[in-house]
Point group: C2
Chain length 671, copies 2
């Protein structure tokens, strides 16, 4: 136990291995022992904790070990002069410190750990024979030990650990700080959870505080009787919320930039959805030219190849989108309509309840299958990095959820053309979805955790348990099984649920569900704003609760999530924009119906057809620029390759001059 | 005459000074002599050409002189590794050559010349007394000689000279190459005229060749009788042209990027309208922090200041736009409507003709005044560089022209609700505007040139002329005046008109008029596409002519234009986008009317009101992101400052390593 005495050591990674059944007869080639020895060899501090049925290796690393690993990974980090340069341990002063004073952000630290522990390979000349529980297997030359052990099923999980001091601090300053309403300690969240989670909470907070305005407007609209102006107030409200949403999104983007600047993250603005361009990601992305390497190629041919690759990529993506859209329209739409119609037709409340239960059961599978198909389809796309892949998935799956959530309401709206019924449906949906969601979201992880805990205790102590029962029966005295305390903190964390998405864990984490909830809520309140303005008040109250419950969930219910590199809300931004455009159309339609119901005007099918066409065209007009980027891929590839080559070649010289000129530079800056 | 013997010397700059009346008694301190001596001192090759009434100094510079000047200006140039670095003459091999093999592009050369000739200052300790035509004046210490002479009126003009060999080559391969239709030697145009002009012609060529598709469609629509499908064909055509235009603009942007990549121009994609960020421009732009320099300031305060400055800028721009819009709506709109109405009401063709003449006379002044007001207003805006200023001007002035061109047509369309009349008006406008424009555009410069030439000859030779007439009278023999040949080539060029905009020469050159013509044509054919599809055929024919006549105009009628740094079509891109959105709305309205005229449907004012509101909202939704950029100014300023500092500090080291590692780099690239 290397660093047991020092109090500051923070163990950040946990590795789960099974508890050796035969602890007594220690053999030198036991694979867990080898793993621990190798961990120590690369400089990691290892603490072994024995749990109920598993053993936990808690890993920590001194900053120097992380730094050397980062240098080996050729990680790019912002320097004091504002440029991202390749990290070098010797020139550590040239690099920008995090707001909390540490050298690496949590995301960078995690990458370093990952590189360190998966980078342990057999460097010898011959294969090493490892033994586990009597079974022997080979650790081949050049193979990663951890990958091998994972495939053998010996290493059950590698997961990031909570940092108890920071977690408790966040509990106090964030999750339990109810009276701050929408204020949150975003910087601390960033340094504990990384960019993506911090951006989510910053967005949620911003969104909720901005929503106070339309909520107040809606409240006034509800309470005050405007007399003859009453008919005029709904269009005014419509215009107000559209302007509100447009302003909000523009200002959110600015806020996002400002946050990234505060966290010293350089990102390329022009790069489409604005993900951080990690120098590493680009290298791992296979460019079409690399694929056909070795052939002597001139520039024109290279360009042609890039173009072919680019267009093939668009074609694949188009095909995938078409498949998803068609299956939504041909399979999901009739199903949803059938449900809505049946629900309407059926008389008895009891049958209605049964129908809804069956419906909910089916759509659970529906969305899961949809998610799986989407993930499979995306594998054929040539997205540049995982965040782009995740975005592509989000678009596809959101289509599914969009249909599921709104088609019923559209059906009701179309069928009744009556504001009162529509309002009733909306209230039902809003309250049910929000209350149910919040309950499920928070109770499910806890239930899962309890069950796992129960199972683990039962499994481990079953003989003892039976024994004690037998004993009890016999002696009716002191019970030993009840006294056994549930293992260590790391074991508890291992039992907790992961922060994973409901649609599959490969590309998205739990943020998918949280963003989805927000987007569906936004669509609900915006698209039917004229029918039910008070929805804004509901949503505001719900979101204020959401901030704290989500915080609690992340801090207490779940494992610490794996940090992600994304620096914006990604695909969700475009989805919200889409919902704004949709809400312009739906609210216009609602207004037409509203005044139509008073029998003043008439609407004819032909006119409606033209209007629909016009709107589809408008959508295409504004959507197309998102579909094909403005810069051809080969131009971009050229630029990026060149820049990264330049930086690779010159970063050492640059660094030295920065370090040397540090003082001069500081003086220059304060001038 | 320094380089008189060498044939390759290309004189690129002309300086016009008056011909000394007393050439015999040469004095050492004559200012023209001083100027020539100073030019030679900085390394320029000077050729003095005596014209009819003026003397011309033709300047050329060896590449080394230009290079040293570029290094002094701290010009940024793309290097072989793809990064823009500060130019240094010693490391010349590290920098990318132009496609035609020269080191500097025409735009860069012009900047160097400008820096060289305006950089001649009195470096002595005391003022130097210069003499011209007997009048003495002072050349103060540290003052630029050329600026002084310009303010004294001695240097009449500094202008770029045509390069005869290249000009003749372009005449053959471009202007007179009618059978190439839309193909043009864009690379040669780029190296002769610089980016902005080349981009215009590339756009014109692209636009024309793409327009062949809708033209063909329109032609078929005109010729073939679709029977019962006839009514359906117009909506199909409408959808087709909208898709066509959306695709065209997206692909144009890609083409633009590709062109810039071919010309080795690095530009920042995210920087709003995509102008090239010259390192120099940024330095000259006064940031608000520089304005209040010397005060010890912390980061938060600096940020606040930037934000204040940014929002003040938006406010000013908003105010200016509001002023322009209000004056267009309150002054121009009634005027245009009055004209359209009067024209409609008046019976006699003669009075109509008179009215039109008066109208044309008035709108000439109207647009000129509008342009001047816009230029004045823009001075209060804080645009970052001249290209942004030019864009701001273009938006304002286009509003004026938009009203002027289309309001009459809208009036007719609304009044008659009749496709036949509308079509007649459109044909009139299209033919008249295009024929008249082309005629004026090409004949006016020639007429101006002829007049100037005539005046110059008359002025100079008047005494001689009178003498010869007297002689003639007396001798009735050989005439000498007729034989006097009109001076040198440089004098002819001086007589030619400049490539200047009709709205003022300060911010825009002749490209403004050319783009305006294109935009107005685009609006005309797109917005009323359903009323008159054949307009596409007219436009195609006109544009094919336009390419060659514009080329001829630039090559033969005008002075060589001053090259500009802009790398995109700038504000025009947004204007074309706006016209597409407008045409979606107008065509929808036309279709409604078309089917309405057949008495099937009815449209009520309330419904129309809602639709209008909806469209205004859609416009705001998509327009707002153009109004306020996504990145706050202070974030951007920080980023740019940092990057430029980094490059300033390290460029020398980078350069050395590039030059040294050139071979290794080449090997690496071909690997």
């Amino acid at each position: 136990m290397n660093g047991h005495g020092e109090e500051q050591i923070v163990f950040e990674i946990g590795v789960v291995v099974p508890k050796s059944n035969v602890t007594e007869e220690k053999e030198t080639c036991d694979c867990v022992e080898t793993l621990v020895a190798e961990f120590r060899k690369v400089g990691l501090i290892v603490q072994r904790v024995s749990g109920l049925s598993d053993e936990f290796l808690k890993l920590a690393a001194p900053v120097e070990i992380l730094g050397r690993s980062a240098a080996k990974m050729q990680m790019k980090k912002p320097t004091n002069i504002g440029m991202d340069l390749q990290f070098e341990w010797g020139q550590v002063d040239a690099f920008v410190k995090q707001p909390d004073g540490s050298l690496f952000s949590w995301c960078e630290r995690f990458q370093c750990y990952h590189h360190l522990i998966y980078g342990i390979v057999n460097k010898g000349d011959s294969d090493i024979v490892l033994k586990y529980d009597g079974v022997k297997f080979c650790w081949e030359v050049g193979e990663s030990l951890l990958t091998r052990l994972e495939s053998e099923g010996i290493v059950k999980l590698v997961f990031p650990l909570h940092d108890e001091t920071k977690r408790k601090k966040l509990m106090r300053s964030w999750a339990l700080n109810w009276w701050d309403l929408t204020n949150q300690p975003i910087d601390e969240i960033y340094s504990y959870y990384g960019t993506k989670v911090a951006i989510y909470f910053a967005f949620l907070g911003r969104y909720t505080s901005w929503m106070l305005f339309p909520a107040a407007f809606a409240f006034i609209l509800q309470l005050v009787d405007f007399g003859s102006l009453q008919l005029l107030m709904l269009p005014v409200f419509f215009v107000f919320i559209i302007l509100w949403s447009v302003f909000f999104f523009q200002f959110w983007k600015r806020k996002n930039s400002a946050l990234l600047a505060r966290w010293q993250i350089n990102y390329t603005v022009g790069a489409g959805q604005g993900h951080k361009d990690l120098g590493m990601e680009w290298k791992t992305h296979q460019s079409p030219v690399d694929l056909i390497k070795g052939v002597g190629m001139d520039k024109a041919k290279e360009k042609q190849l890039y173009q072919k690759h680019e267009w093939f990529g668009y074609l694949m993506r188009f095909r995938n989108d078409a498949i998803i859209m068609l299956s939504i329209v041909c399979l999901q739409l009739p199903f949803e309509l059938a449900y809505a119609h049946l629900y309407e037709v059926l008389g008895s409340d009891f049958i209605k309840f049964g129908l809804t239960a069956i419906y909910i059961f089916i759509i659970q599978y529906f969305t899961k299958i949809g998610g799986k198909i989407s993930v499979k389809l995306i594998k054929y796309e040539t997205n540049e990095n995982t965040e782009y892949k995740a975005d592509s998935l989000v678009y596809k799956v959101f289509g599914l959820y969009f249909m599921q959530t709104y088609i019923g309401i559209f059906y009701h709206a179309l069928l009744h053309r009556n504001f009162r019924t529509l309002r009733k449906v909306l209230i039902q949906r809003l309250i049910i979805s929000e209350v149910l969601d919040n309950l499920l979201e928070n109770s499910l992880p806890y239930l899962k955790y309890s069950y796992k805990k129960y199972k683990a205790i039962r499994m481990t102590f079953y003989p003892l348990f039976v024994l004690s029962r037998n004993k009890k029966k016999r002696e009716k005295g002191s019970s030993s099984a009840e006294k056994i305390n549930f293992g260590s903190r790391v074991e508890k964390e291992y039992m907790k649920a992961a922060y994973s998405a409901s649609i599959g864990e490969e590309l998205e984490d739990g943020l998918f569900d949280d963003f989805l909830e927000l987007a569906l809520q936004f669509g609900m309140i915006m698209m039917f704003a004229c029918a039910f303005p008070l929805a804004f008040v509901f949503a505001t109250v719900n979101n204020i609760m959401e901030i704290r419950t989500d915080a609690l969930k992340l801090l207490t219910m779940l494992k610490r999530p794996v940090p992600r590199a994304s620096t914006t809300i990604g695909a969700w931004s475009n989805i919200f924009q889409f919902l704004i455009v949709m809400s312009i159309c739906t609210n216009s339609a609602l207004l037409v119906w509203l005044y139509d119901s008073e029998g003043k005007w008439k609407i004819e099918p032909g006119l409606a057809g033209i209007l629909i066409m016009e709107h589809v065209l408008l959508l295409i007009k504004f959507g197309f620029s998102h579909f094909v980027p403005e810069e051809p891929a080969w131009v971009r590839a050229n630029r990026m390759k060149n820049t990264s080559q330049a930086q690779d070649m010159c970063s050492r010289q640059l660094l030295r001059s920065i370090s040397g000129g540090e003082k001069a530079f500081e003086e220059l800056k304060h001038d």
